[in-house]
Symmetry: D2
Subunit: 281 residues, 4 copies
Amino acid sequence: MPRFVLTLRCPDRPGIVRGLASGVFSIDGNIVDSSQFSDVTTGGFFMRMEFDAPDVNGDEVHTHLAAELAEFDPELTIRPQEQRRRALVMVSKQDHCLVDLLYRTGLGELPVDIPLVVSNHETTRATVEAHGIPFVHLPVSTDTKPEAERQLRELVEEHDIDFIVLARYMQIVSDETCEALYGRIINIHHSFLPAFKGAKPYHQAFDRGVKVIGATAHYVTADLDEGPIIHQDVAHVNHAVGPDDLVVIGRDIERLVLARAVRLHAEDRVLLNGHRTVVFD
Amino acid sequence: MPRFVLTLRCPDRPGIVRGLASGVFSIDGNIVDSSQFSDVTTGGFFMRMEFDAPDVNGDEVHTHLAAELAEFDPELTIRPQEQRRRALVMVSKQDHCLVDLLYRTGLGELPVDIPLVVSNHETTRATVEAHGIPFVHLPVSTDTKPEAERQLRELVEEHDIDFIVLARYMQIVSDETCEALYGRIINIHHSFLPAFKGAKPYHQAFDRGVKVIGATAHYVTADLDEGPIIHQDVAHVNHAVGPDDLVVIGRDIERLVLARAVRLHAEDRVLLNGHRTVVFD
Amino acid sequence: MPRFVLTLRCPDRPGIVRGLASGVFSIDGNIVDSSQFSDVTTGGFFMRMEFDAPDVNGDEVHTHLAAELAEFDPELTIRPQEQRRRALVMVSKQDHCLVDLLYRTGLGELPVDIPLVVSNHETTRATVEAHGIPFVHLPVSTDTKPEAERQLRELVEEHDIDFIVLARYMQIVSDETCEALYGRIINIHHSFLPAFKGAKPYHQAFDRGVKVIGATAHYVTADLDEGPIIHQDVAHVNHAVGPDDLVVIGRDIERLVLARAVRLHAEDRVLLNGHRTVVFD
Amino acid sequence: MPRFVLTLRCPDRPGIVRGLASGVFSIDGNIVDSSQFSDVTTGGFFMRMEFDAPDVNGDEVHTHLAAELAEFDPELTIRPQEQRRRALVMVSKQDHCLVDLLYRTGLGELPVDIPLVVSNHETTRATVEAHGIPFVHLPVSTDTKPEAERQLRELVEEHDIDFIVLARYMQIVSDETCEALYGRIINIHHSFLPAFKGAKPYHQAFDRGVKVIGATAHYVTADLDEGPIIHQDVAHVNHAVGPDDLVVIGRDIERLVLARAVRLHAEDRVLLNGHRTVVFD
């Protein structure tokens, strides 16, 4: 039996779970996993469900369940699990996150398809092409930025991209692209936000003398380093660790945090809740 | 509206969630939290749910939902959330876990009632009585053990105890009591089981030269240190840490791990799954 | 043989360790522990040493070693280990850090003497006095603040206090006191600084939707929440954790972080390095 | 000025640090880092030091300092820091640890030279050769094992190998090789030893229902999974994580733990202390 992944957001009211469970039952489905969250501060209801169902395709299932739940006016996504999310990865010169994502994808750890990698530098071309993935060089200067971003959005369209991963991509994405792809661009910032926004966070961390450093995976918004946070983690450091050592230690946190955020997003486990996230893990 | 906490175990089949959701809906209830787990290796289905419902008492709700779910032959527990679980705490001479449990309970962190504390020593009497809780001295020797355990089971009966917490209680509980209260006695063992079973685990850990130590909260079974694990945590240590230092470091892990296990159990978040546990946290 | 604890700060130059080792050797001492740090960015040298030495008192040892090291112009502290640091603890209404410090001190985990506890409220009097420690109520209003701080500094003088611990003390300490006791007042802030400075950090953290929360123990300076950091730790949280839950989770981090910072300071393991710290642990 | 790394083991006695500091001073050296440990249970003294010294080569420095310390009968190693340790990496089919070690070495994170990789399978040849490192296929069967190990020891000799890294090498190393290279073979075991020795530790962990899993880097001894532990780390897991998921989660711990152990060893930070280790980090 094929498995389906469903997410649902709507105002909280009695009967949603019953409606959904009845809908799944009526197509001979079996619920194999389900998580829900009622946000008492906003009255929002959030759900993620996995169910098995025979002899139906994704569109039919969607139509059927959407009808069943019509009274709740939900935002509903339904996807056959085997139809993997498609990610476009962007990178500049540092390749530790890129290499990690490619390795995990190859191993089957990360359920994503990566149809292409885009970079503003040529540095990582060989690495990418060795994985059999097309590499697109999209240089960015102040003058060419609008045109480069236009091309980027075309690539997203053309390759049917679900989401973009900024794997240490050192350019600021324009407001226009942020809005067009809201909730669909994941960035890794090398500090435990909201501490150390902006440039050179490890140097900022060294100057402040903190005893933990961290990394944050978040959705990109026009408001730099302020987007909804998906995942964070930290490492302990001491006085003997200089800025360059922080960069080394940070690489491990960055790649773990980004890989986890990509997996969570690709498995439809992250639902936006205003400028916060609901993460069903 | 009063809130109810429900747990359910049964063989996995389509329709359980629908049945339950319909049942809650039919008493005008609203599901506010729900977690489930299907164990593919055993075919078991596990669920914990919180729902609000008006004008009904716990017994009526239980009767109603049990009828709704009869075809699934579930093990079902339903409890008004305000009716707190009753814990009997047992302790020997070391009081760090006891003091922590009493402090958290007083602060409202731990949703339990502690009607009495039982010890095989007089050491902690003043501490316990300062919290207004009766202290029962139940000395144990080889000769008196069967009688002492009989008295313990009487106290459990008499005080309507839901579960027992062994907060560094240094006596082995008899097979008879283990069986009578299966899944209702929580022990804290001062190692990350299954490493360092038996006596003096910190000394064993020192001798082995491990770089992490830990603590394990588990249900007590006749098979010593083999019961189902509820929660574990660890701390990093280095070569300079001697056995006595391990004891000090371990105290912090023990009290955190035990307090969390007690909270999980008291909130009906731990379901037995053979010799393993399902923990909905 | 009595044990001595030594700390030393001076500009880095060849020969310091030799001078110190010769000095200890010449009084028939044996070095049992030693840590050092050369700060390449500032040229500073930092050292902590424990040594055993017979038949000498602390003043004589100090005179002797200071002479031996005179050419390096060091800031030198030498203390017989058995002569414990004296801490004055300040608290407002929340007592979780206070209770923890008192319990650890009673158990011998924390090598400090606490001659008195000072509070701007009466709330914790019974708790403090139950430990046989004098409790001083020092109310603070806008009008009385200068006088209250004068009294505080008198108490510090009178009781020969080495350092002050702000164990969730909810008043801002005046610049005058900060300067008079620079590097001798430890505060626990309930966030991973520099994130969430100021009031209600857990509510700020909730609003920002972070996935980790933390606590920071730091020296108090006139610049609020900007003092040198001694220790930090964090816990992972998720979307279901509301502001009140953050407060509960935070209490565990706060008391662990503060207890560790107090132990580090009381064992002379924290040396100031500008607005950063060197922590020999 | 060239930097030297020194390690020293000897029975603890007054005067060692003085002797060493004088020795370094007499060759116009400057101590830039130093750590020591006195094991009170065995009377052993352990030290690691980094110092800068002009115009001298490693052998001269060794001769000079050995003479200075002769009375203490020390085991002394001295190495110019720029002369990197040489590691032979062994692997079977799973390549996550291998790939990680090669990537970190290429990035300059790991101060080792890897002159060759040896495997009992051909699986990883392309990966290894893509890094410009010779790959040696050394198949092992019951019959060929003695001969294969003889060849291995020859490769160690021929390539002037300092230590061997078993990066998920699934063959048991013979007692003869263990003894010949005692303290020079690092293995990664995929459990927090001493729990789950032997085969399939993740499946054992699943069966036992533990809530943490881990990995252990240790020196290999004839006594399987009993060698001195260098580093360990763990991850939290829950009931929903099956054996295959444990393998995925475990990969991250394994590569982090092994990479750290290799770095520690390559920087001469690990000193054997019986069947335990002293790790100066």
